[in-house]
Every structure is written in structure tokens, then in C-alpha cells.
């Protein structure tokens, strides 16, 4: 077992290259290609497992995770508004980023758990989808109130028909309908290449993280502290919920990781449309410049250790 996963090294390569202002950059089309493959692969994998259990059994977990999405956003908001002294819109937008979830972080956790033979409940991709959305709604309401002005049908369209959700849900449904055998023929692309594709994705994420660190420097210490402290708190919520739902150690750790991760795709896009007065440099600086590298480099092992500890002392 290696101390450090090679895919993490790709992230570091991107980060260092970005900070040294190398001209390295993945073409936009390739970044999208790689994202599409990851989203579909995660969805497909989850869908195959969904087929194995009755849907009704999953409902409690799904509802609980939605509640967690609401809760985390509402937890982050007052901290940002009153301790961080951000404007209402900014606090709401950043809170929504942290109440939602990062598919990239999830993928790294899958790779991390996979290489350590840690099993987890296989309906996690479904919970991932569930957790992506509530925070967006809360964020908009926190910024605006339940005003008439908000064009909710537009928001719903943006949220439910955004690229990420369509590919995740589409993958889930295809995996669910086709089953493991049905997917055998497309396995070489979506499953065998998964970690290689993830490595490329993390290379680009490193480069993007480097660009966000500039923005951070301007907005100071609070965001850095928040970007580390908030995921740590959220992970505890995730672990508590994992215990309450009776998840395995791996499942608990994965739920903690989901809780701790912060969105940098779906939520920024939705906030840009629905809460345009929020400054995206702040939220992306925190979620991409601090929390993503923190989670990927040190967070995931911590959350796993916490889950083991919790299962031994609390759950045992």
C-alpha cells in the first residue's frame, strides 16, 4: 500500500504547474469529456447496485440525506454572515456550496477506498444526487426570501436539467436497467479507464485550484479557516447520520466525505443565475482553493479514521 495515491500526485502536479505559471492546460473540450466520463461512470456503477435492492429500502437514507443538505447550508450561513461578516448574498451562496456536494471529491474517495479494499453501501451515488440539490434551494431562499421575483421554474430547470444531474441520474437509470451483465460491453471505457480518467481530471483540478488561490489571497484568512473548519464540522454531521442510519464503516466515512465536500460545478452555475449579486470569487476561492485540496489531500483519510473510531466507540 502506497502512502500516497498516484491520482493525488496528478493533482499535485497540476497544482505546482499552476502555481509556477506553466502554460499547461487541458483543452476545455477535454475537461468536459473527462467530466462526462466520470459522471456517467459513477452513475452507472451506482445503478447496477440499485437494481439489487428494493427501492423502498433506500427511501429513508435518501430523505435523511436531503435533510442533511438543508441542515448543513443553514449551519454554514450564520457563521458566514455574522462571524465572517459577509454580505447576505455572499453568505447564502457560500453556504449553498458547502451544503451541496463535490463529485470530484467523491470520485477521489471511491479511488481511495477502492485501493484499500474498504467497502461501502453501493447506493452512495444516489445519495450524492440527493445531496446536490437541497442546498441550492436553501441558498436562494436565504439570499432572497421566498420572493415572487425568483423565477422558480427557471431555477428548477437549471438545477434538475444541469449537465451533472442529467449524467448522474441517466447513468443510474441505465445501470439500473442494464444490470452488471448488460454493462459488460461498455466496462472497458467506463470502469477500466476510471482511475486514469480521474487522474487527468485531477491534473486539471490542480491547475484550476492554483488559479483560485490568487483570489483567496485577496479575501483573507477567514475563508481559509472556514474552508478547513466547515468540512471538518460537516464530516461529523455525516458520521452522526451514518451511524443513525446504520451504515457500514465505509458507508459512514463516505457519507462524511460527501457532507464535507463543497460544490464547484452545479452550485456555482445555479448561484450565478439566481443570486448574481454574490461574488463567485469568494465561494470558488473557498470551495476550490481550500476545501477541495484539503479534502483530497488530508480530509478523506481523516473522515475514514473518524468513522472507524465512531463505529468502535459509539456504534460498537
Amino acid at each position: 500500500m502506497n502512502v500516497i495515491d498516484p491520482i493525488i500526485l496528478f493533482f499535485l502536479l497540476g497544482l505546482v504547474a499552476g502555481l509556477l505559471r506553466s502554460e499547461l492546460r487541458l483543452p476545455a473540450a477535454i475537461y468536459e469529456f473527462v467530466s462526462i466520463l466520470l459522471l456517467l461512470a459513477i452513475g452507472l456503477k451506482g445503478g447496477v447496485e440499485l437494481a439489487k435492492q428494493p427501492f423502498a429500502d433506500l427511501l429513508p437514507d435518501m430523505l435523511a440525506v436531503v435533510a442533511m443538505g438543508f441542515f448543513l447550508t443553514l449551519l454554514a450561513f450564520p457563521v458566514l454572515r455574522f462571524v465572517g461578516r459577509f454580505k447576505r448574498a455572499d453568505a447564502a451562496s457560500i453556504a449553498a456550496h458547502y451544503g451541496s456536494v463535490s463529485v470530484g471529491t467523491y470520485a477521489v474517495a471511491v479511488a481511495y477506498f477502492g485501493s484499500r479494499q474498504i467497502t461501502f453501501e453501493e447506493h452512495m451515488p444516489l445519495l450524492l444526487v440527493m445531496l446536490e440539490i437541497p442546498a441550492i434551494l436553501v441558498g436562494i431562499v436565504l439570499a432572497r426570501g421566498v420572493s415572487r421575483q425568483t423565477r422558480w421554474s427557471e431555477v428548477a430547470h437549471e438545477v434538475f436539467l444541469g449537465k451533472g444531474i442529467v449524467l448522474l441520474v441517466g447513468g443510474l437509470l441505465i445501470g439500473w436497467a442494464a444490470g452488471s451483465d448488460g454493462l459488460a460491453s461498455i466496462k472497458p471505457l467506463f470502469f477500466d479507464l476510471f482511475k486514469g480518467i480521474l487522474a487527468l481530471f485531477l491534473l486539471e483540478m490542480g491547475l484550476l485550484t492554483a488559479t483560485q488561490m490568487g483570489g483567496l489571497r485577496r479575501y483573507g484568512l477567514f475563508l481559509v479557516v472556514f474552508g478547513v473548519g466547515m468540512p471538518l464540522c460537516s464530516s461529523l454531521v455525516g458520521i452522526g447520520l451514518g451511524l443513525a442510519l446504520g451504515l457500514s464503516v465505509g458507508g459512514t466515512a463516505m457519507l462524511a466525505t460527501l457532507a464535507a465536500s463543497a460544490s464547484y460545478i452545479a452550485v456555482p452555475a445555479a448561484m450565478r443565475i439566481s443570486v448574481p449579486e454574490a461574488n463567485p470569487t469568494l465561494s470558488l476561492g473557498a470551495s476550490l482553493g481550500v476545501t477541495f485540496p484539503f479534502n483530497v489531500l488530508v480530509g478523506i483519510p481523516i473522515y475514514y479514521a473518524l468513522a472507524v473510531w465512531a463505529h468502535t466507540f459509539v456504534g460498537g
Partner: protein, 100 residues
Amino acid sequence: MEGHTRKLLTIVTEAAVEATLLRDIERLGANGYTITDARGKGGRGVRNAGWEASSNIRIEVVCDTDTAAVIATYLQTHYYDNYAMILFVSDIDVLRPEKF
């Protein structure tokens, strides 16, 4: 070439706002538009990454003077404060004035 004068309105702004912006532009009277993907730098910093949150689009609208003024004013009121955006207008000659 018997040209007719029209206006060319060029907008450079965030890719994230594309759908909303096009809807507004059409509602305000544009008969068409042309989009190219772009990157750049301005008051709100460098915008050149390969993901939507940090990339630009460049929209051109050929229209008459009034429509150009209406769109420009609307965008100034509704977008300028919150979005990375620039907008400029120039005079052009077109061949089929009835189209624009």
C-alpha cells in the same frame, strides 16, 4: 452594393449567463445572434479556464439603432453590476435591411 446602415452590438460576458442573456436579447427585439467562445481579462480578472464558471462568450447582434439602444440599456441595468461584461456598438452596412 447599396448598403443600409445598421448597428452591430457586441457583448463579451460570462458563459454561465448565456441562456438567460439570449432569452432577454430576443425578447428585446433581436432577430438573431452569433456566439463565439472567448477568454479574456478585464476589471473582474482573468477569465480563461476550461470550465464554464471561468470562461467567456462573445455575442454579436445585428439590429437597428433603437433595438441596439434598448438592449444596451437593459443589459446595463440588469447585468453590469453583477456580471463580468462589456458591451460596445458600431456602425455597419448590411445588404438585406429587412432582416435586422
